[in-house]
């Protein structure tokens, strides 16, 4: 059994991501709702950290992730938990601030026992045209350094 990531579009609205992990659904689920764990992996390229991680794991709870490259560049994401069914399912909405907020991305993450591991399936709204443009230009949520450097210059973050 492989742990290969798959990404497929579903109709004209959704992206579906699957990935297998060698851990129980409880463990993988926990890594998605415990701020101390989230801070250790949801970081994108090397060199980035998440100095602020708020994840209130309850329906209506708030999400706030702030990323930094340690050199003055950064951006953040906010969201709300819609539904939790531990350790099977998380439904939440999120938006990135680049720095203008992108339209809400509706995300359903499921954790299914798969042999001695877990199959993660994440179904997301495909970003609209303006959002994709902003994402690709800024290297997306966790993109390329060169793009971040452009964003920094554009926003004057270097000067701070």
């Amino acid at each position: 059994m492989t742990n290969t990531l798959t990404i497929e579009t579903e109709g004209d609205r959704n992206v579906v991501v699957t990935r297998r992990f060698a851990a129980s659904p409880e463990e993988v689920y926990r890594a998605h709702v415990d701020p101390e764990l989230i801070q250790q992996w949801m970081l994108g390229p090397e060199g980035w950290t998440m100095p602020v991680c708020v994840h209130e794991a309850r329906p209506g709870g708030k999400i706030r992730y702030e990323w930094s490259n340690g050199e003055g560049a950064g951006f953040f994401l906010t969201g709300e938990i819609v539904e939790l069914d531990p350790p099977r399912r998380i439904v939440h909405v999120e938006r990135m601030h680049l720095p203008d907020p992108t339209p809400d991305n509706h995300v359903v993450t499921t954790f299914t026992a798969d042999g001695d591991g877990t199959l993660l399936t994440m179904r997301m709204t495909l970003p609209d045209e303006a959002t994709r443009k902003a994402m690709l230009e800024t290297g997306m949520e966790h993109g390329m350094e060169a793009s971040y450097a452009r964003l920094e210059r554009a926003r004057g973050w270097n000067a701070r």
């Binding site: 742990n3 990404i7 579009t9 993988v28 890594a31 992996w41 045209e129 966790h142 993109g143």
Partner: protein, 112 residues
């Protein structure tokens, strides 16, 4: 800019099973509208409409050959969609690789 705008059209075009079948046929090589219509029960005008959607989405191109208008796959039709999905893939692979190591570490620490 043009390529950014076209992703909406690309995805809408791909959302239809008949249009995906047309693309699958064209992946095997150029074909006329008549040839494309053959395997389907729907009318040729309906096929022509699908072809128009695919052409407008930049997925296929039509050339003029006398009275024939053979269709073929556009070489760069899926490039922009691919670029978006590859960027997403790169971001997720980094994250999930880290999560793998974190989960392995958690297991080790809990063992007596």
């Amino acid at each position: 800019m043009q390529s950014q705008r076209s992703l909406d059209a690309t995805l809408a075009a791909l959302a239809d099973p008949t249009r995906r079948a047309i693309l699958a046929r064209l992946a095997r090589g150029e074909a006329t509208v008549n040839e494309l219509a053959e395997p389907f029960t729907i009318s040729q005008p309906a096929i022509s409409r699908h072809i128009k959607v695919l052409a407008e989405a930049g997925l296929i191109v039509q050339r003029v050959d006398g009275t024939r208008r053979p269709c073929s796959l556009a070489p760069d039709g899926l490039k922009e969609l691919d670029r978006y999905l590859e960027t997403l893939r790169g971001a997720l692979e980094k994250n999930y690789g880290r999560l793998d190591r974190l989960l392995a570490k958690g297991r080790k620490e809990r063992k007596p």
